[in-house]
């Protein structure tokens, strides 16, 4: 049974297979390859049937795939432990600096109570940790209706909106 994930705040069947480290690229099917693998197949992948995305570990530098963001349909960021916050910066850089507009997915130890922040740094897809209630987790996006910072959802921090409102 395909796995259910959250994409753009709705439940969907996952149409991608996330390859483990060191796995060879299968001949067909949509796959998300680890960065190492992607580096090797970067050119040959164009000829393959089925799309190829890439996933980054917490210490992978997103700048390394900056030239590829236009062609990558999906970039996934791994959270080996939910308390490892490096992936948040990775996402922010991919969106705000490198201009990635495709699916940005968090996977690994992804839990309901992190979803709100994850979405705000730019993730729009979430493969929750195995065994978690995905439908319940959807409520987390509504935890807060405001935020103080600029984010993927609101490019202007409220201090710019506040002042505009006050000045209007």
């Amino acid at each position: 049974m395909p796995r259910i994930i959250i994409v753009d705040r709705t439940l969907q069947e996952d149409t991608w297979e996330t390859l483990p480290r060191d796995a060879a690229l299968p001949d067909s099917g949509n796959v998300i390859a680890p960065l190492e693998t992607w580096r090797h197949v970067r050119e040959s992948a164009r000829a393959r049937s089925g799309a190829v995305g890439v996933w980054l570990a917490p210490d992978d530098d997103p700048a390394g795939i900056a030239p590829d963001v236009e062609r990558l349909p999906v970039i996934a960021v791994q959270f080996p432990q939910f308390a490892d916050g490096r992936g948040y910066s990775t996402a922010r850089l991919l969106r705000a600096r490198h201009g990635f507009r495709g699916q940005l997915r968090a996977f690994g130890e992804v839990l309901r109570d992190q979803l709100f922040y994850l979405e705000r740094v730019g993730f729009n897809a979430f493969a929750l940790k195995e065994g978690r209630n995905v439908a319940d987790a959807l409520a987390a996006f509504a935890d807060f209706s405001e935020a103080y910072q600029a984010s993927a959802l609101a490019p202007e921090p409220p201090y710019r909106r506040r002042t505009t409102a006050a000045g209007a």
Binding site: F82, A83, D84, G85, R86, Y88, S89, T90, R92, R97, L111, D113, Q114, F116, Y117, L118, R120, V121, D143, F144, S145, E146, A147, Y148, Q149, A150, S151, P155, E156, P157, P158, Y159, R160, R162, T163, A166, G167
Partner: protein, 557 residues
């Protein structure tokens, strides 16, 4: 004071609802202890030795009388009728029941308070000078900047799971009363030669296991770029700070590994992308924030008040209190008053609900309804007419709030230690009590002059022992409690770390050891004017060492 607008109010009340639900899921077994821990920590909730501990945020130490009364009521209703003010200007409740915490947070939200990010590996409560806005040596009021940082750091999505906790302190006066050199980031708000306001940025200071004095990485960041610059620092730290060893995870270690120049270069490279971007703070926002901190309706007064001078002349105890516990105000005829939470026999920084109510009343009657918490764990009434000082003193005294010991050896900074804290190696409160008892003669304290004595129950250094003129650190030796003594530390512009004088002392030796140290000072000081710290700097540790370890009682132990 800063008043919440709709955005602030919405966020804080939604936080209460979120935490209530997290607590419910935890109690229902849906959230494991491991998963719940960072969530509760980011809400200031610890599980301590005897009971949970809740740390309530007092952003940059500012409280209204109404808020303080609410804290008094919460301590009475949900706890044992007292609270502990910390060196980071927060309030800790030591005995709340886990299940009642959401209710406490809801009551706090009603008076625009919360416990957000008072713990956990995130950006903590920003601290500043307790005399902000009134200090005679102030360059710029640091509070609008502190509030800006409070908002930016609250629920920052990118920086909620940092390698380790992260503390920011802001100062903007000649004297540094905010310990900016021992914070992860210290900011000095100042004007450059062209008159523009900005910040000098210090990074990588900190106490703890590896005490480090911070380094300046930028002499001037224009205020409009302050948030962008902070984002750059935090992003470099979040991405590259060590996560493999929690003792090496603070930013100071990253700064050391990259070197100060290397770290500064990484920050500048990141900042180059952010500069001029959407997080630039417009002048209008500073104007909005500044309007929250306008001067209260001061009267036009002569600086000298005849009745006050007479009372000071006639009443020695009052005069002593004025000398120690009041601070120069920039407005003529006013003074800032420190209400000491260091009465003998009381754990330093503790205040009962009754005392909080008294302080709230005093604030309303004498100081425009505002109170501040200092990092030395006292309460401040910042705007008192000199003409009112005598009346204020007479009311504060019976409440145990007028011990004239600010700046003296009796003003001990002390963490909760082994009586409460589960991380402690040793108790700290009884040590403070033993020392306070030894120096209970206020005339003697006064003769000794300025001495900062700071106590931490473990190397986490919440009691800032490294920067005490005399520092005491609880250590564990073979399962029993010992105390290491350092001399020569200091805070402020001349921040220095104390040096260990020798082998540690047992609990019952420590008061003798401190007395011996003070004895050396008294015998060696050049004259009455030479302060303890200056004598230590002049003569070094050796004379102290000789005397302390030569005492027969200690030899036998």
């Amino acid at each position: 004071m800063y008043r919440y607008d709709q955005i602030d109010r919405t966020l804080v009340s939604q936080r209460v609802a979120q935490f209530r639900d997290q607590m419910r899921r935890h109690l229902a077994g849906e959230l494991s202890e491991d998963e719940f821990r960072p969530l509760r920590l980011q809400n200031g909730l610890y599980v301590q030795r005897q009971a949970p501990m809740l740390r309530i945020a007092i952003p940059y130490g500012m409280l209204s009388a109404v808020q303080l009364r609410t804290l008094a009521r919460i301590a009475r209703t949900y706890d044992r009728g007292y609270g502990h003010f910390t060196t980071r200007q927060n309030l800790q409740l030591n005995w709340p029941k886990l299940e009642t915490v959401p209710d406490i947070l809801a009551e706090l939200a009603e008076v625009e308070m919360h416990a957000i990010q008072t713990s956990g590996n995130c950006i903590r409560n920003t601290t500043t000078d307790q005399f902000a806005g009134v200090a005679h040596d102030e360059l710029v009021d640091p509070r609008p900047y502190s509030e800006l940082i409070r908002q930016w750091s609250t629920f920052h999505p990118e920086f909620a799971y940092l390698p380790r906790k992260f503390k920011i302190a802001v100062s903007s006066s000649i004297e540094d009363r905010a310990a900016t050199f021992v914070h992860d980031i210290g900011l000095h708000i100042l004007r450059n030669d062209a008159g523009a306001i900005g910040a000098r940025v210090i990074v990588g200071g900190g106490l703890g296991r590896t005490p480090v004095i911070g380094s300046v990485i930028r002499e001037f960041v224009p205020r409009a770029e302050l948030i962008n610059y902070l984002e750059a620092i935090l992003r470099v730290y979040n991405r590259f700070g060590r996560r493999d060893n929690k003792y090496k995870a603070r930013i100071k270690i990253l700064v050391r590994e990259l070197s100060v120049t290397g770290f500064a270069a990484a920050v500048e490279a990141e900042f180059a992308h952010l500069e001029g971007g959407p997080a630039v703070v417009p002048d209008a926002e500073f104007t909005r924030l500044e309007s929250s901190f306008t001067a209260p309706a001061y009267e036009t007064l002569a600086d000298a008040d005849a009745a006050f001078e007479r009372a000071r002349h006639d009443n020695r105890a009052f005069a002593r209190w004025v000398e120690q516990n009041t601070f120069g105000h920039k407005v003529s005829g006013y003074a800032a008053v420190t209400l000491s939470l260091k009465a003998p026999g009381v754990p330093p920084g503790d205040a009962t609900s009754e005392q909080m109510d008294v302080v709230a009343d005093l604030a309303e009657r004498y100081s425009f309804g505002e109170v501040r918490v200092s990092h030395e764990q006292n309460l401040i009434l910042a705007d008192v007419r000199k003409a009112d000082l005598f009346a204020l003193w007479q009311e504060a005294r019976p409440a145990g709030l007028a011990t004239p010991n600010i700046g003296l050896i009796g003003n001990i900074i002390c963490c909760p230690g082994g009586d409460f804290c589960s991380l402690a190696n040793a108790k700290s409160i009884p040590i403070a009590a033993a020392i306070a008892a030894r120096f209970d003669d206020l005339d003697y304290q006064h003769d000794l002059g300025p001495i900062d004595l700071n106590i931490s129950g473990c190397i986490n250094s919440c009691g800032h022992h490294h920067v005490g003129h005399i520092g005491i650190l609880g250590v564990d030796k073979d399962g029993s409690e010992w105390y290491q003594v350092t001399l020569g530390g200091s805070q402020g512009r001349e921040t220095a770390l104390g040096r260990v004088i020798g082998r540690a002392f047992a609990a019952d030796e420590i008061a003798d050891a401190i007395e011996a140290i003070i004895g050396v000072y008294v015998a060696s000081r050049r004259d009455d004017e030479e302060a303890f710290i200056d004598t230590v700097r002049r003569i070094g540790l050796a004379p102290f060492r000789e005397r302390v370890y030569a005492t027969p009682v200690l030899e036998a132990a």
